[in-house]
Symmetry: C2
Subunit: 417 residues, 2 copies
């Protein structure tokens, strides 16, 4: 009997995690490497950032969810080198040989070359980002309570979200709810309802990948929560006191102590490394142009999935999940000598939530909004959340939040002290 | 009508928070100042440190729980100065006058003058401490999985807890459960059941404030979870690789990558400041010797409560809670011109939990252990937990953990990245 076929998966996000699940019990030896010991359900990260859920509720320990797949080994590590000629990957502590490699290290936020802005306007990709943003939002209200001068209170109670995609819209809506409902009656010096929340976007409308009708409905729902949408606006500078924007009528300064970046995306640097070694192409966001079977030209043993891959598909969870599942099947088919068809994305649509009983959904041409879209959003997100325990905890907290408007996980934490 | 009587409470722990609750709706103007925006239920902090609960589950936002007490204002701030002659307290941003002052800033861990040890052996007082310890515990197992040499794996799988009080016992028991149950089958290179957990204490037995019979039962329960108790042991040095201890037979070195400090306690520095201004006494832990009515000699307008006060009572939550309630009543009685009796602690007993279905309790001379003590422990802790939402979430997670042995909140997080 020959040695087992070794599959190394780099990244335990939606793509890599689903590939590992799909290869569980298959006649291959799988190693899944991730920098974190948990799979993160990113679509609900904004709820951690706004105090509705706790970090543990949207994370599943990778080892636990894969423990019964005895052919899958999980390693905590940061892969810094892929050596394609030698067929090895290297972390800080270990070098691993592979027969098939799956790279699914995703993307992080891009500040379009202005990395100095990160300090003033954090973005939302990791659990640490979420708890940092949560601290900033709730600290701003706390500082406002200590500020007797109403003029100085203004920038403390003004929240800017840069980027009108689903994350920006969901964050803005949640902050709107915090100001209007969650914190109502919590302060003695000011009314949190006075807060200004602004969503800035460079294009002509928010949620530009959605149908125009839904963008419009989303904007109206946001207005109802006190959020002002400003489109055709470009951010030119960000500092500790606010932002400078360019509008169609000229430059403008907006003072704000809480700015959140929900704009650009840039692929993990491993994409560039693969391109340099194989001559494959990357797009301007650093994503690898993959073949229709998700491998790269000349290297049928290397799969690139999820946000690191460019196949002209949106960078959303369902694409990554389907790619992970496809890849697990494709590897098994190849090993069995069966033909492998190309990856085909089954688009079930897109949705975004804006607040209580408000969401927009575009499911295969069927567009709806309001309560039905919100219920659909709740259902789909609970369904895809990994781990039964997490599903129950999240459902329960949503129920409690719906009834009481309270957000119990609104801790201001830090690493000092 | 005269100006309202101003009460300033420094510290939102058990004592300060209960004083604020008790003064809600009373004819006084209350300001509660805390460094954090939440009340922390410290007795369950070890469960956050061991991945059983999320930080949000044991914290209640102070503003939210006090929002209907319209005479109570909550301020986020760090009180650095109390000026007793002028009757003011000062934070970074504000100076507040008071008519009555309640100081309840508690205590932190003491390294007996060896503050350099803190870096290698964190202690458990804040939410950040808990997530830091959680990261260390679960990272040690992750590193062991990457370590092919069994000899080098040993110190990664050895956990030392210094201090055999309730916190140390509860931590050691929880780590025992993690190694034997939670992580069973999660690793491919080693069996987590091989881990060694050691509880070190300087006295002749663990849980020395409890009756000897219970110490004995606790030790046997710990042994059942793979925890070794070493008493009459003094820690002489701690570094990144392990600890040096002094035993009755001489010095010894124990290699361990995960050391947790659950030993000494030292009072908040505000105690020293009060002593310096009023000439009142402090004990060697820095706690203020208070009069039987919890005020300090010559200053009936200053109450010192909880872990900052020395009234020859143990530093446990029930003492602080009762002192907070007493003080609220005493202030109202004084203002109404009624006589005020001294504080009297109603001791309902002590308890500590060791693991699934194992605990020890000493309730007013009635000593019991095992399942009844464990159920009593669960009941009392759920009862005292602040906030209905938290109670339900904690109950649910305990139920899930009991049935599945899983700990869903075992995230390794950090502040880099």
């Amino acid at each position: 009997m020959s040695a087992p076929h070794r599959v190394v998966i780099v990244g335990g996000g939606f793509a890599g995690f689903n590939a590992a699940l799909g290869l569980g019990h298959a006649p291959v030896e799988v190693t899944l490497i991730d920098r974190r010991n948990f799979h993160l359900f990113q679509p609900l990260l904004y709820q951690v950032a706004t105090g509705g859920l706790s970090p543990g509720d949207i994370c599943a320990p990778l080892r636990h969810v894969l423990k019964d797949h005895h052919n899958v080994r999980v390693l905590l590590g940061d892969v810094h080198t892929i050596n394609i000629a030698d067929r090895t990957v290297t972390t800080d502590t270990i070098e691993l040989p592979y027969d098939t490699l799956i790279v699914a290290t995703g993307a992080s936020n891009s500040y379009f070359g202005n990395d100095a802005w990160r300090k003033f306007a954090p973005s939302l990709k990791t659990i640490e980002d979420a708890t940092e943003i949560r601290s900033r939002i709730f600290s701003a209200f706390e500082q406002a309570e200590c500020e007797p001068d109403p003029a100085k209170r203004k920038p403390l109670l003004r929240f800017l979200i840069v980027g009108g995609g689903p994350t920006g819209v969901e964050l803005a809506g949640a902050i709107g709810e915090i100001a209007r409902d969650t914190l109502r009656g919590n302060f003695r010096n000011f009314r949190p309802e006075e807060s200004e929340i602004m969503l800035l976007d460079a294009s002509t409308r928010i949620l530009s990948p959605f149908h125009e009708e839904l963008s419009d409905k989303a904007e109206r729902a946001l207005i109802g929560l006190g959020v002002r949408c400003r489109t055709q606006v470009r951010v030119k500078a960000i500092d500790a006191e606010g932002v400078d924007i360019e509008t169609i009528t000229g430059m403008q300064r907006i003072e704000s102590r809480t700015v959140i970046w929900a704009a650009g995306v840039k692929a993990s640097p491993l994409g560039q490394s693969i391109a340099a070694q194989t001559g494959c192409e990357t797009d301007k966001g650093g994503r690898v142009r993959v073949l229709p079977d998700l491998t790269i030209p000349g290297h049928p043993e290397i799969y690139v999935l999820g946000d690191l891959a460019n196949l002209d598909l949106p960078g959303v969870a369902p694409v990554a999940i389907q790619q992970g599942k496809y890849t697990a099947k494709a590897i098994q088919a190849k090993l069995a000598g069966n033909p492998v068809s190309n990856f085909h994305y089954r688009d079930h649509g897109t949705m975004a939530t804006i607040g209580r009983k408000a969401a927009v959904a575009d499911l295969g041409g069927m567009r709806f909004d309001g309560l039905p879209a919100w219920l659909a959003w709740l259902f789909v997100h609970l369904l895809y959340l990994v781990g039964f325990r997490n599903r129950v905890l999240v459902a329960l907290q949503w129920g409690s939040q719906f009834l009481t408007y309270n957000r119990g996980a609104r801790l201001i934490t830090d690493d000092k002290d």
